[in-house]
Each structure stands twice: as C-alpha cells, then as structure tokens.
C-alpha cells in the first residue's frame, strides 16, 4: 500500500452494507493480465515517437535512443506495433512467468 496523504477514513462509523467505498489504496497494475508484450528492435527504432503518441495507456517511456513500453502498465494491445512506421516493434507471447 502506498502512503496516503491523510489518515484513512474510519469505515466502522457507517453500516457496512451501504455504499461501496474504499479507504485504502491497493495498486492494481494493468500490466498484470497481458497476453502479448511489445519488444522493440533498437536497431530499427529511429525514436520517431509514433508509439508514444498512439499508446492508449500512455505507457511508452523515453530511453536514450529508443522508446519502450512500461510493462507494469502495458496491456499488450499491440497498437504501437501496428502503428510503428519502421516495423521496429514485435508482439511476443507472454509465457507463464
């Protein structure tokens, strides 16, 4: 649990069958249920930022000479691979680990 700015609201002050509320933050990573992951071929990447522009989860991070997906966030949709004008991104199937 990440540190919260204020003390959590005391849920015991209200009936527990009223309204769904959450008073503690649990991080849910959208990268946890990906079927395929984008792999960047750095030789082909010209750092044009097309992937960065198209990514619906805005998970593309800038590196020294290339861009790549933050795999904690990336859902594996493949839009970056589809849009890359230099065909520098391959979608690779995730294994059990």
């Amino acid at each position: 649990m990440r540190r919260q700015a204020r003390e959590p609201f005391d849920e015991s002050t209200i009936p527990n069958d009223l309204c769904p509320i959450a008073t503690e933050r649990i991080d849910l990573k959208t990268g946890d249920w990906r079927a395929e992951r984008p792999v960047v071929d750095r030789d082909k990447c010209v750092k044009c930022a097309t992937c960065w522009l198209y990514c619906p989860t805005q998970c593309i991070q800038e590196k020294p000479t290339w861009f790549e997906a933050n795999l904690e966030i990336c859902k594996g949709c493949g839009i970056c691979a589809d849009e890359c004008p230099h065909h520098a991104i391959m979608m690779v199937e995730e294994t059990e680990e």
Partner: protein, 396 residues
C-alpha cells in the same frame, strides 16, 4: 393558492430548501423546470441552478452535489428519463438521497408528447422509491415528505415522486402552501453525505471495482445488493411513519402505500394508480347507487411494492380489475396487473383478475371507461373468463 401540479411540485421543492437543482426541459415537465428556474432567479429557492446539456448530465451533476453534501432536486420524463438511465441506474446503490419528479409521459414510438405512465413504470425495478400522486396538493406534500424518506438513515435511497403528465402537470387546483418554518422543523437537520462523500477530511474512493469471480469481491457485491433490498423494505415502514407525521403536523392525510375506498362490504374492486383515481371513485359511487358492491384500491407506492398491505386489501374481495396507464409488452397486460397477480398468489383463495389498459398517450380515463371496467369485473366475479387485456380507449 391556485396552481397546476408542476407549480405545486416546484413549491414543494422550494419549501424543502435544496442546495443544488439541475434541470433540462422536456414536455410535460418543462413548466416545472421553468418554475424551478424562476424561483431560483427570484431568490425563492436559494440553490445553485445547473443548466446542463442533457439529462445524463443533470443526474451526474446531482451525484457530485450529493457526495459534497447538498440536498438536490430534478425532474424529467419520457425520453429525458431514457437518456438519464445510465446515472439513474447508479443512483440507488450509491445510496444518494436525490428527489426527482417524473411527470409521467407515454413511451415513444409512436411519436407522442402526452401523458401515460410508460416511462416511470419501465424504470421501476432499478432501486428508486416510486410514489404516484393523485392531486396537485399531494404532489407538493409528497415532494417534501420524499426528502424525509430519502434521507432517513434506514433508507438512504433516491425517491421518484410521480405525477401524471397533462392531467396533473397542467390541471389547475386549489393548493395549500405549508408554512416554511413548520416544514423546516418537519425535515430537520440535513446530513446527506455522512456515509459516502467527496470530502478531503474523509478520504475515500467512491464506488471502486466490486465483484469478479475470485476473492471477496462477489460476497461484497451481494452485501451491497442485500443492503439496498433491506433499505427498500425499511422504506415500507418509514413511508407510513412520515405520512402519519405529516398528517399530525399539517392536517392532510394520504394513504401512504395503498388506499382502500368503499371496500368494507365490497364483493369486487377496481385497482387504480395516480390521477385516474378520482374518476374511478366517482364511477364506484355511481355503481354503488345502482346496488353494485364494488370498491376501489389505489396504489400510491409502487416501489417498494406494498405486498402485505395489498394482500390485506385484496383479501376483502372476490374479483379485481386492474387499470394500468402503461403496457407490459412481454406479458400482454398492464404492469400493475402483472404485479397484482403475484400478490394474489399469497391469498388463500384464487380470485379472477382482469387487466384494463387506458389513458395511453394523453387519453382521458373517464367515468364511462371505469363503468366498463366495473361491469366487466362484475362479469368475471360471476365466472366469465377474460384471457386478454381490455383496452379502454380502443373505440373512443
């Protein structure tokens, strides 16, 4: 004073001192939206008026206002209610005590801007409390009472106060305006967001993902669903208590759930809802003069459905004719008829029931229509069978 049902509703709102009102006009609710706007402009209602771009935003704005602790009001009907449906569905499980008038209108298509109860009846199963009024005075009084019901700690549910488009919305009647101080005393201190809030002092995430196939999610979901159902059942009690208190303080009495009219020695009864009831009672009086042992049962509260109260009323008669102002397409009958059939199952004895459908698309249900309903129900009492609904305005 003398006013129509829409103005009476606006006065009910003014007396309840809302903090935020949001409206989008739609016939036959439009003049109600206009009265609200006028009252805000004149300082009669000291609330923020949100003029938004459509009904979906109307209710979404009120969600936010409620979470910030505001008492809120809106009104809509027909297609406006249809457009509002997404936030409408979310309001009861968020347990937001919003009060909303539905100035009932028939369903499009065929294209139609006139009264009927198809809109409100169609959304009755979503978790809002639904009460139907018979007179302009009852509209005003019920709107004030609705806040007390909605904000009751055992309920915390949104309430629809419904009145018939055209007949109540534009029909002018004598209306008594309750005293503001007495209404303030009746409603008491408001505390809208004690349980769920957008408040930096009480940090919480409202409505996080709940459910799924694993973990504690599904059980949590069930807990909230059961909580909503329990609150609905609590409302049966609280609606009665609030009506009783209203009578004590203001001297006007309404049957909170179900009204019985001339039922004591009745052999059969017609069942009504909303403003048609006046003509129904007149028809019953006339039939009584010619010796018919007929009575009338009026349903005011449709959600929660007053099963036990209705059961008691139904146990006094041997046949019923249910007059609906809307249609259950899938059952080929009126929706109240359909629900009355479920209630009849609880009786020891099996009695005949007939579905009448009238007053669609602004049509009047007059005494002659009720005469027909009474005569037909009398035939059913004598053993004649009616397997199809009877459409009262078919040959007008």
């Amino acid at each position: 004073m003398v006013c129509d049902g829409n103005e009476a509703a606006a006065w009910g709102v003014a007396l309840s001192r809302p903090d935020v009102v949001a409206v989008y006009p739609i016939t036959p609710q439009s003049s109600l939206a206009e009265y609200i706007s006028q009252f805000v402009a004149d300082g009669i209602i000291q609330a923020d008026l949100m003029d938004v771009e459509g009904e979906h935003s109307v209710l979404s704005v009120l969600h936010g206002a409620c979470l910030a602790g505001a008492r809120t009001f809106t009104a809509t009907c027909g297609q406006g209610l249809a457009f509002m449906f997404e936030p409408y569905f979310r309001t009861p499980p968020l347990r937001l005590p919003i009060v909303m008038s539905i100035v009932t209108r028939d369903g499009i298509t065929p294209q139609c801007v006139w009264g009927g109860q198809q809109d409100a009846m169609t959304v009755r199963e979503v978790g809002w409390v639904h009460m139907y009024c018979e007179t302009a005075q009852e509209v005003l009084d019920t709107i004030v009472m609705a806040y007390k019901i909605a904000e009751h700690r055992d309920i915390m549910l949104p309430v629809n106060v419904n009145h018939d488009g055209n007949y109540l919305s534009y029909g002018v009647e004598k209306v008594v305006l309750p005293d503001q101080e007495e209404v303030d005393d009746f409603l008491g201190e408001k505390n809208i967001n004690w349980h769920v809030a957008l408040d930096p002092e009480r940090p919480m995430s409202v409505d996080p993902l709940t459910g799924g196939a694993e973990g504690s999610g599904p059980a949590l979901f069930v807990r909230y669903r059961k909580g909503s159902c329990k609150a609905m059942q609590n409302a049966l009690r609280v609606i009665q208590e609030v009506h009783e208190e209203w009578e004590k303080r203001f001297g006007r009495s309404y049957a909170p759930l179900v009204e019985e009219y001339r039922l004591e020695d009745a052999k059969y009864a017609i069942v009504t809802i909303g403003s048609m009831t006046g003509a129904g009672k007149d028809a019953v009086d006339l039939a009584r003069e010619s010796g018919e042992k007929v009575g009338l049962i009026k349903i005011k509260t449709v959600r929660p459905f007053p099963v036990q109260t209705l059961r008691q009323a139904l146990s006094k008669v041997k046949a019923i004719g249910v007059v609906d102002r809307s249609v259950s397409f899938g059952w080929n009958c009126g929706p109240m008829y359909q629900e009355l059939l479920s209630t009849l199952y609880l009786l020891d004895e099996r009695i005949p029931a007939i579905s009448f459908i009238g007053g669609l698309a602004g049509a009047d249900i007059r005494i002659e229509h009720f005469n027909r309903a009474i005569e037909t129900t009398a035939k059913a009492l004598r053993g004649e069978e009616f397997s199809e609904p009877i459409w009262l305005n078919e040959k007008d």
